[in-house]
């Protein structure tokens, strides 16, 4: 079930940068997205599209969404001439490695592929994705939540992919633990810290939450929420890297402090130990994404009925803001001989009413479309695991508060790798996170310069 969750855990966090860059550049130009994006693009004519969709074609589609053949079957039913070969080439990183190899080799690449938000800039900079504007992608903008559309847009107004599922971040908490220690649901991070200390004093075996030292995704989501702009693509060959500014340091000090006091743990996540801890009630909360509730239902069965969902605590009590962790898109891979059919596949899977409903209700992907996020059949579900709370409604509301201007770097793997070895390590070792942030900044700056980027701020 956790298609997105696992991928997310890997590095989903980082995916969203693209969209940001786009919107920033556009904003700087003073124009709306629409003008700049539509101007230079030669649209494919309807006649060409009709012809392509009735010519017998076989598409190859790489994705790791389980049972996606159900949705693909709907597409094939609508366009009987098109056959889609679904290939699971690995989840996240392994698939990306294969994709890169195939693209370098010049053969064996699929027509369409699942790409997580955070990876879009990493693939678009190597010209591995097809701009979908000529195939009518611009017209799909209004179907999607604003921030998700920003995530798939490129600096030049390109549309690199169609959003499939998302992971706006919230907080799952153990109502029984909170009640036992008289803790009210924290609305701000200050309240959260106070609750963490109170809980630690009352029961040192239970930590308020676990900030995984191997999970860059959560860190990026928390930066996103705090309004930090770690990466900004400012042009085709320039990027701003802000990994250790005042706001990042504030976040670093906050978490580092709680970890040092023992009020928050820093175990690696999605490990045996972590699952055990969730089941045994050693974490009072899990700061997670919208795919988290379903994931938890499957992996912490023994705690059914004890969990509730709430938005993330806030830095500014007067504003509700969140970040995103995880989620995927469907992109068309450069070099395909069937760009029209592949683009229509990406469009159909992620916009067709029946297909998107299936994703939400059978594969439990958290939707990216406005239609589903307001669909009573979806948001009014009352899972018993959460004591009948309308969890989807809570996360649907959170999705509306996700900052729209967060960007991912065009070299995500390196950013995550270096985070693991600096900032993540400082959580694990309880060492100075501030110094680690400086180190992260300097490593990435060096890397980006070696890759030929002009590095700002």
């Amino acid at each position: 079930m956790p298609t997105s969750s696992r991928s997310i855990r890997r590095r989903t966090v980082v995916g969203t940068a693209l969209a940001l860059s786009v919107s920033l550049v556009l904003a700087a130009c003073g124009g709306g997205d629409d003008e700049s994006s539509s101007a230079p693009v030669q649209a494919v004519s309807q006649a060409d599209i009709d012809k392509a969709m009735t010519t017998p074609t076989e598409l190859t589609f790489w994705t790791w969404v389980p049972d996606i053949s159900k949705e693909v079957a709907l597409f094939e039913k609508k366009y009987p001439a098109i056959k889609v070969k679904v290939v699971n080439a690995g989840q996240g990183e392994p698939q990306y490695t294969k994709l890169r190899t195939a693209l370098k080799a010049g053969s064996g690449a699929p027509d369409a592929a699942q790409i997580e938000f955070q990876y879009i800039p990493t693939f678009s900079i190597t010209k591995s994705l097809v701009d979908l504007r000529p195939y009518g992608a611009d017209a799909l903008k209004d179907k999607f939540v604003d921030w998700t559309w920003n995530q798939v847009k490129g600096a030049g107004g390109e549309v690199w992919a169609i959003p499939q599922d998302t992971g706006p971040m919230g907080m799952l908490y153990r109502e029984d633990i909170f009640a036992k220690h008289g803790i009210t649901v924290p609305k701000t991070w200050d309240e959260f810290a106070a609750a963490a200390r109170k809980l630690h004093a009352a029961d040192p075996k239970v930590s308020m939450t676990n900030l995984a030292s191997n999970q860059n995704g959560v860190w990026m989501g928390l930066l996103w929420q705090a309004g930090v702009k770690p990466f900004e693509v400012t042009g085709a060959d320039s990027v701003n890297v802000n990994l250790n500014d005042e706001n990042s340091k504030k976040l670093g000090t906050y978490w580092n402090g709680l970890i040092k006091e023992g009020a928050v743990s820093s175990d690696p996540d999605f490990t045996d130990q972590w699952f055990q801890a969730l089941n045994r009630g050693q974490y009072a909360t899990w700061l997670t994404a919208a795919w988290g509730p379903v994931f938890l239902t499957g992996s912490a069965k023994s705690t059914s009925g004890k969990w509730r969902a709430a938005p993330l605590p806030q830095w500014d009590a007067s504003k509700q803001v969140s970040g995103n962790w995880g989620g995927s898109t469907t992109a068309v891979v450069a070099g395909t001989k069937n760009p029209i059919a592949a683009a229509k596949l990406a469009e159909f899977l992620n916009t067709d009413t029946e297909s998107t409903k299936m994703f939400a209700n059978q594969q439990f992907l958290f939707p990216a479309t406005k239609a589903l996020l307001t669909d009573p059949a979806f948001v009014q579900q009352k899972p018993a695991f959460y004591g009948g709370q309308t969890v989807n409604q809570i996360f649907a509301d959170i999705s509306g508060t996700v900052d729209t201007n967060f960007q991912w770097p065009p070299f995500l793997d390196q950013a995550v790798n270096d985070w693991d070895e600096t900032v993540g390590k400082s959580f694990a070792d309880k060492s100075d996170t501030g110094a680690a942030l400086d180190q992260w900044q300097s490593r990435i700056t060096t890397y980006a310069q070696n890759q030929g980027f002009k590095v700002g701020p």
Partner: protein
């Protein structure tokens, strides 16, 4: 007459073998040569070629001469990883070879009851793929559910943190030793079997006991085999990859991407997309191995002469 008749036959034979002995030889070697060239020489040449370029995200591929090598020689992370492996070598290899030698001597001594069982038992870990071995030891080392930890818990103490910064190199050395003792033991044992028995008899006549025979006859006699094991170990040590790569998952904050030189090259190529730089690093690593192997040979040869 008698002497005449065999002559032509002989001549024919001689003619056939002398006509193209080289061609026949090459024909026999051809299957090996083909694979050798296709699988080793060509890839090596290609890697050497790659290492002279830089492929950047911005600007594409440019010829950069020896720039990659210059960068690598100043790369603190690479140097640190090579030094770490040197330290590993100094601890692990003597231990492993000592155990292998003892086991080989013990089995060869003829004093063991179930020599064949011992031989197979010690060799067996070598048949376990290193990935499986690492996963198994990783579980044994586990701080919460590992048997060592549970045992220590029962006794009322704490097991050492095998996967912590201070212990990691030792823990890894233990895994590698476990895996390769049997392999080295077999090489040494085979060499021992080849020692002429007259030497032992002579030693016995001179009044040497089992220990004295082992020390003064057997060990000197298998010195070439020991040197061979040592060189294999040099190569193996500097190419360590599977063990740290898997243990990284268990201790991500201890083993970073440059823990061993090979791991670093892998990370550069597949995480940082710096294939060219990774090629240069790999070549330098090859150079380090050649130098280290040569040093071992040089030192042992000199000693044997002296």
């Amino acid at each position: 007459m008698k002497t005449d008749s065999p002559r032509p036959v002989r001549r024919v034979r001689r003619g056939a073998s002398s006509a193209n002995p080289a061609a026949t030889g090459y024909l026999f070697v051809a299957p090996f040569l083909l694979v050798f060239v296709a699988m080793l020489v060509l890839p090596l040449g290609y890697a050497a070629y790659l290492s002279l370029f830089q492929d950047r995200l911005v600007g594409g591929t440019v010829f950069s001469g020896l720039d990659n090598y210059v960068t690598a020689l100043q790369d603190d992370r690479l140097i640190e990883s090579v030094l770490r492996m040197a330290r590993f070598f100094v601890i692990q290899v003597p231990t492993m070879l000592a155990i292998a030698l003892l086991a080989a001597l013990a089995i060869d001594s003829g004093l063991l009851r179930f020599a064949k069982v011992f031989r197979l038992g010690i060799f067996l870990p070598y048949a376990v793929p290193s990935v499986v071995a690492t996963l198994m030891w990783g579980y044994l080392y586990g701080p919460d559910f590992g048997p060592f930890a549970q045992l220590a818990d029962k006794v009322g103490t704490a097991a050492p943190a095998f996967l912590s910064d201070g212990w990691m190199l030792g823990s890894m050395a233990n895994i590698v030793t476990w895996e390769f003792v049997g392999y080295n033991m077999i090489i040494l044992y085979a060499a021992l079997r080849a020692v002429p028995h007259e030497l032992y008899e002579a030693a016995a006549v001179d009044g040497a006991g089992a220990w004295r025979t082992a020390w003064s006859i057997k060990i000197p006699a298998i010195r070439p085999a020991l040197v061979l094991c040592l060189i294999f170990s040099v190569i193996g040590t500097f190419q360590l990859f599977a063990e740290p790569n898997l243990l990284q998952r268990l201790a991500p904050s201890v083993i970073d991407s440059a823990y061993t030189p090979n791991l670093y090259a892998y990370t550069l190529a597949f995480t940082g997309q710096q294939v060219n730089y990774a090629a240069a690093v790999s070549f330098l690593l090859g150079l380090v191995i050649v130098i280290a192997s040569y040093t071992v040979l040089f030192v042992t040869n000199r000693r044997s002469r002296a």
